[in-house]
Symmetry: C2
Subunit: 313 residues, 2 copies
């Protein structure tokens, strides 16, 4: 099976430029763009990272790429190449997943150059991605300083709310106005956030260009990931607000996870806002500041609950 | 679990040099050694690529690294960095696998700089590896020319014979002299070939330095992989011999797979032998030549059976 599938995948892809070799040899031959590069890996497992009763295999393929691109975005970089390994899928399932993989690869400008196909009892996509910093210093989790402002690239909780909607666990009434009800437009946005998470690539680059000091993407949950950043930077966190997406709950926003918005810190907000405007991006949201005491985690003066997504889907 | 395990893994590793960032951020920051680099991925699934009733989790971890290093070796390159993603393992299983991962990483000089841990019902290790060509042209599968000699880095079939031994499928009698019997020394070599496959890294570099024209590693099986190389190079194959490892059968050698010896082609055998000697390596074995007619696959004048390992373990 493997060779027929690989041939099919190869036919759907643009050919490698001179000097490079993509899918089909023992390893791909790729270009390095700068002296240091970024390298990350994330896998998605059916039943753990995606419920295939409510999302399609195309969505699953999209997500495998998007979460990896998000890791590169969270360093302020731009993805260049990816390798994609798939286990436990039939030829037809691989084809469906590859449609989503291809859409996401094109969306984010990352080239799939190789990978592996294997048997197995469980459907899984494992991706590794290389990215370039374009010569800028990589934005680590450890760079935040006391006094820095804390930003988020958008309101939170859409993915968790979308999952709940898709599962019919909310009293979802089209166009209704009661508690928990959302309009069809909002519902579509929420379910899309779960099915097709977006990597905030342009936002990550803008933050990096504007001198952000630290950055992380929200995969586990806003409070858990902000906590990682604060721990690694040895700073305290004083939040004034948690931005909740329309149709989501406060708890979705705080700990729902998989939003893939970026949290970043910066000493000079005016440069951040100017760069986001220049790049044609929605302005990021200021949610608080970093403080001296590394044990401090507050929200509106009270204690900030640290809750994270436990992959317990 | 993830963070505790990651902390444990980090403690077992050497710290990143200045300017690099390894395990613990969204992506690793790594060095590029040359303008083009190699990038490959291979995954190993329990029950598909390793029978955990007969090999240990340490062996399984070793194998995950070794098969990826072999992909880089088959390009004539040297591995630099790897990311390792694991699904379906408990903390204690991860620890055991990491012992083998670490041993293999040290053996082949590849640095594990990141990865992912996930739940799942099936134990699996997915590795992606970056390698450098050290400035030499990468050795593709497509470079063989009519008249080139065909080499193999060692006798074949040990892994398949070792698996059969471990499964007790052969009439294994210690020190016996009957059909199918092997000495304890040979038995140890065979089972070791299955449990701890070796990547022929030094051999790949030597072949590359000595001007080899094409190369591939033997994962599917000698005849199947040689067939891939001949197909991609549009040459015929005229084999004079199939070198069979002591204790292995002809069919193990021809199609057993997972030997991870390298097949390569070269126009000037004397340069190959000189370079292997200079590097202190056993001389490679000449097994035949490449011919004009791309449809030709012969062994000792007769038809060469193309059999490959179907991952049907």
């Amino acid at each position: 099976m493997e060779f027929a599938v690989i041939e099919h995948i190869k036919r759907g892809m643009v050919p490698a430029p001179k000097g490079e070799v993509w899918i089909g040899d023992d390893a791909a031959v790729i270009k390095c763009f700068t002296e240091v590069e970024l390298f990350a890996a994330d896998l998605v497992v059916a039943g753990v990272h995606a419920d295939l009763d409510i999302v399609t295999l195309e969505d699953f393929g999209w997500k495998a790429i998007a979460v990896n691109v998000s890791d590169i975005a969270a360093m302020g970089g731009v993805p260049s190449y990816a390798v994609v390994s798939i286990a436990g899928a039939s030829a037809s399932e691989i084809e469906q997943m590859y449609r989503g993989i291809k859409e996401a690869s094109e969306e984010y400008g990352v080239q799939v150059v190789g990978g592996d196909l294997s048997g197995g009892r469980e459907l899984l996509i494992s991706v590794a991605v290389i990215g370039t910093t374009e010569g800028r210093p990589p934005l680590l989790r450890s760079g935040a300083r006391p006094g820095d402002f804390i930003f988020v690239t958008g309101p939170l909780g859409s993915s968790a709310a979308g999952l709940a909607l898709l599962r019919g666990q909310q009293g979802f009434r089209q166009g209704g106005s009661g508690d928990g009800s959302v309009t069809p437009e909002v519902a579509a946005k929420l379910t899309d956030a779960y099915r097709r998470p977006k990597a905030r690539l342009a936002e990550g680059v803008a933050a990096s260009r504007a001198g952000a000091s630290a950055m992380i993407d929200i995969s586990d949950g806003f409070s858990a990931d902000l906590n990682h950043l604060a721990d690694d930077s040895h700073v305290g966190v004083e939040l004034s607000a948690v931005p909740v997406a329309p149709g989501a709950t406060f708890s979705d926003a705080l700990g729902g996870g998989e939003d893939y918005e970026l949290i970043f810190t910066a000493a000079k907000p005016e440069e951040i806002f100017a760069e986001f405007e220049r790049a044609g991006l929605s302005p990021p949201l200021v949610v608080g500041t970093c403080s001296q005491d590394p044990s401090r985690r507050t929200l509106d003066g009270g204690s900030l609950p640290i809750i994270g997504w436990e992959h317990d889907l």
